[in-house]
């Protein structure tokens, strides 16, 4: 130990680094926290949007349902319209997200005449089965997301957040 004497110059250099680090931290800490805030902000999701489709009217054939909600994007509030493919499966209602899991294009039910009972993505010819399962051999890597759904008091369909597909 006694052989590793710290010289005065080394000591000063270490102290200097420490003080410099303190100043840099004092300056940058608030700024970095400020910059990474979007990652740390709590999402207060889970809001359901009421559509104008009555649950009783939903058939087993997927139909396109547009629903509009107010989206607050920091200081900018706007009306955003999203789409879901809705059908009845047994007793439950399924609402599939139309966003292709390949590169984010929009899929259509029976969009390709050759596959009338599948979802079809026109961008790279990705296909999904009715429950959203991606057809192997086509570009998508996973099944379509599903929206949370529930029925409102007066029998209208309400659509919530998109969650990973739990039907496949």
């Amino acid at each position: 130990m006694s052989n590793n004497k710290v010289t005065r110059r080394q000591f000063l250099s270490y102290t200097l680094t420490g003080v410099g680090g303190f100043m840099a931290a004092g300056m940058l800490m608030p700024m970095v926290r400020f910059a990474i805030d979007p990652v740390l902000q709590k999402k207060d999701g889970g809001d359901f949007v009421t559509t104008d489709v009555a649950v009783a009217d939903i058939t087993e054939e997927p139909t396109r349902v547009d629903f509009t909600f107010e989206q607050v994007d920091a200081w900018y509030t706007s009306e955003v319209t999203n789409t879901a493919w809705v059908y009845k499966s047994g007793d439950s209602i399924v609402a599939l997200s139309p966003i292709c899991k390949h590169l984010g294009c929009t899929v259509n039910w029976a969009g390709d005449a050759e596959y009338p009972d599948q979802f079809f993505c026109p961008c790279h010819e990705g296909r999904y089965e009715k429950n959203g399962k991606n057809v192997p051999g086509t570009p998508p890597l996973g099944p379509l997301d599903v929206f949370e759904v529930r029925e409102s008091a007066d029998g209208l369909l309400e659509i919530g957040m998109a969650v990973p597909n739990n039907l496949v």
Partner: protein
Amino acid sequence: MLNKIYDWVDERLDITPIWRDIADHEVPEHVNPAHHFSAFVYCFGGLTFFVTVIQILSGMFLTMYYVPDIENAWNSVYYLQNEVAFGEIVRGMHHWGASLVIVMMFLHTLRVFFTGSYKKPRELNWMVGVGIFGIMLGLGFTGYLLPWDMKALFATKVGIEIAASVPFIGGMIKTLLAGDEVILGAQTLTRFFAIHVFFLPAALFGLLAAHFILIRRQGISGPL
């Protein structure tokens, strides 16, 4: 490890002399507050630079949220101040720093003036310094408009009218600053934003570099 990287770069770029030029010199007694307490007046220049660095950093971070548009500018400032974590502090640093930089620069100027440090051979560095002073005032003036609140708008109106009172070319200066002959609005804000964020800082960097290079070449002025 670090030493090896340093050696690798040094072997190719010979950076040690650059480092020496920056760091390896002696500081004379008369500017060292440890020897004469009154020498603290020699700190003002360094503190001005320190606040300037804070201004540059906090300004860079503020533009992550700020929008230079009359519809959204105020809303984005309100949002970043009230909704974003530490937004109040980062905006506060920029706001108070703007005042502090003026104070420190004023004190630094007075120190240089009263110690007669602008005399031969340092005339050029004094003029560069006065240029920096002007740019800082310009940054203060253009930055005042950006939050697009009441005092921003009306103070800028007055400022632009002052510019318009220049004989002969006043009207042209006004139009150039405001972007329109009569309206002080959308185009004024984008112009002031561009001036505040790109043009003046670019000029500031140039003059600061000149200021520091001249100091290193000429050294600090001797004792009185």
